[in-house]
């Protein structure tokens, strides 16, 4: 019953977000601001994680390929596919759920408990649309770029690890990267990223928007937002993979 009620409330919340828009001139600067807050400020973190996880993926693939009959370039190929198909779109989205999701839930939650959202409503502004719509637009726009960057840096990390440890020379790694590359995998990664960006922003905003109480409840809303977002990302990851790759 609680689950159904929450789902219903979430759908009604989305209806409010996508209705009664304010003046168009209001949204553009807010979207640019959110791109900076949610996306640009995450570049360093995403780059750091991607390089190291890319390196670890390559080392693990090499560790599992002890058979001398298997060509070395398979290390590059397996690393590429792991990074494009799963690590970058899913794992980085999960990490972003923690970073930007908690930011969204806590900032909107704080606005709720300090009556800033009520102030918007009294001014005749659709607070849900004004606060959440720019965040959705920003994340759906910028997250694919973050994921593309993550894929590139993950592969660079893998190449560095393979080269520095001597388990996969540059030429072999490059052959692996190019071997039977299907551009559709990139499309799949971007589709997943866009859906995950929508989930991160709307679910966390939903929990922040419906915060009641004080600082403690803002923290709880933030935690709830991140947990539910992570669960939904895992479920949708399976559903999208089943739809697009099976």
């Amino acid at each position: 019953m609680g689950f159904l009620a929450t789902t219903g409330k979430y759908v009604l919340f989305l209806k409010r977000v996508f209705s009664r828009f304010e003046k168009r001139t209001v949204y553009l600067p807010k979207i640019i601001e959110e791109i900076n807050i949610l996306g640009i400020s995450s570049i360093g973190f995403v780059a750091f994680v991607s390089v190291f996880v890319g390196a670890v993926v390559t080392l693990q693939v090499a560790y599992n390929m002890e058979n001398p009959l298997l060509p070395t370039y398979l290390i590059g190929l397996a690393s590429r596919d792991s990074i494009i198909l799963e690590f970058s779109p899913t794992m980085i989205s999960l990490i972003l759920a923690g970073k930007i999701g908690s930011h969204i839930a806590s900032s909107i939650g704080t606005m709720r408990v300090t009556e800033q959202i009520d102030a918007l409503e009294v001014m005749g502004i659709n607070s849900a649309s004004y606060l959440v719509f720019p965040k959705i637009c920003a994340a759906v726009f910028i997250n694919p770029f973050l994921i593309i960057l993550s894929i590139a840096l993950g592969i660079v990390g893998g190449w560095l690890a393979g080269n520095l440890t001597g388990i996969c020379p540059t030429e072999e790694f490059l052959i692996g990267l190019q071997y039977e590359f299907a551009p559709f995998t990139m499309f799949y990664a971007i589709i997943k990223t866009i859906i995950f960006a929508f989930i991160i922003t709307t679910v966390c905003a939903f929990f922040g928007y419906h915060t009641k109480g004080g600082a403690l409840e803002v923290g709880q809303a933030s935690t709830k937002g991140v947990v539910y977002t992570s669960i939904l990302i895992i479920i949708f990851n399976y559903l999208i993979t089943n739809l697009l790759l099976s």
Partner: protein
């Protein structure tokens, strides 16, 4: 003028407002007084449509505020200014942006005209050289004055204030009371203020509604309040025995 007729509001089994009726006149300071938890804030939030009421009617100058479309409600809300208990200034904006915000969202004015209007409102509440500061850099009293400036920036017909003196020292409270009084009389606004500050009641209460457990217990003005024959009101005015002896 605002008319509230038989409004009821409950959360589950808890009745917060019980058949509350009141009349708030234009050009006067109308106070809603009562103990903490008596339903004052809920009454104001229901009047503003922030909480839907269970039954009853709310009329702004012969315009029903309940049975209307969102668009019509938005039009009425453009005529309303509100000062929240905690000021509710937007943390991410500086003072100029905070006061300019309602103009930006509802009017098609040039930036220079908006700046002029913001300057006028900040001067009106006696604040200078604060334009670039952020709310967290101001004292509680200054934040309240910025909130008043933001509330009057659209020339409202109705001004609501939820405990404008809470958390302020008596001197600053007096400054805020005087400011609200001046603005109300100067612009002929229908001002509705929630308070439990007896100084405000005596200083600015043109019309007073006393609420107890969500019900209207007494209605009158600052002259008649001290001679009122209502047990709850007398308790509220002079809660201790010594105070009651002192006030006769």
């Amino acid at each position: 003028m605002i008319r509230v007729e038989n409004i009821n509001k409950s959360f589950g089994d808890k009745h917060v407002l019980n058949n509350l009726s009141a009349h708030f006149s234009a050009g006067k300071i109308n106070l809603i007084i009562g103990k903490s938890g008596s339903g004052k804030t809920m009454a104001i939030k229901c009047m503003l449509g922030l909480h839907p009421i269970d039954s009853g009617s709310i009329i702004f100058n012969d315009r029903d505020f309940i049975n209307i479309s969102d668009r019509q409600r938005k039009e009425i809300r453009k005529e309303i200014g509100m000062v929240f208990q905690g000021s509710a200034l937007f943390d991410s904006m500086n003072i100029q942006e905070n006061v300019m915000f309602p103009l930006k969202m509802t009017k098609s004015m040039s930036v220079s005209d908006m700046k002029k209007r913001v300057d006028f409102c900040l001067n009106r509440v006696d604040l200078k050289n604060v334009h670039t500061l952020f709310p967290s850099e101001l004292s509680g009293g200054m934040q309240k004055r910025v909130a008043i400036a933001r509330a009057i920036v659209l020339n409202p017909k109705y001004l609501f204030c939820d405990e404008p003196n809470s958390g302020l020292d008596p001197v600053t409270s007096k400054v805020i009371d005087d400011l609200l009084k001046e603005i109300t009389y100067e612009y002929g606004i229908t001002t509705v203020i929630n308070t439990h500050d007896m100084n405000s009641v005596i200083e600015i209460g043109d019309s007073i509604v006393f609420i107890q457990d969500g019900k209207k217990e007494w209605e009158g003005d600052k002259k008649s309040i001290t001679t009122a024959n209502n047990k709850y009101l007398n308790e509220f005015i002079a809660p201790s025995k010594s105070l009651r002896r002192f006030s006769g």
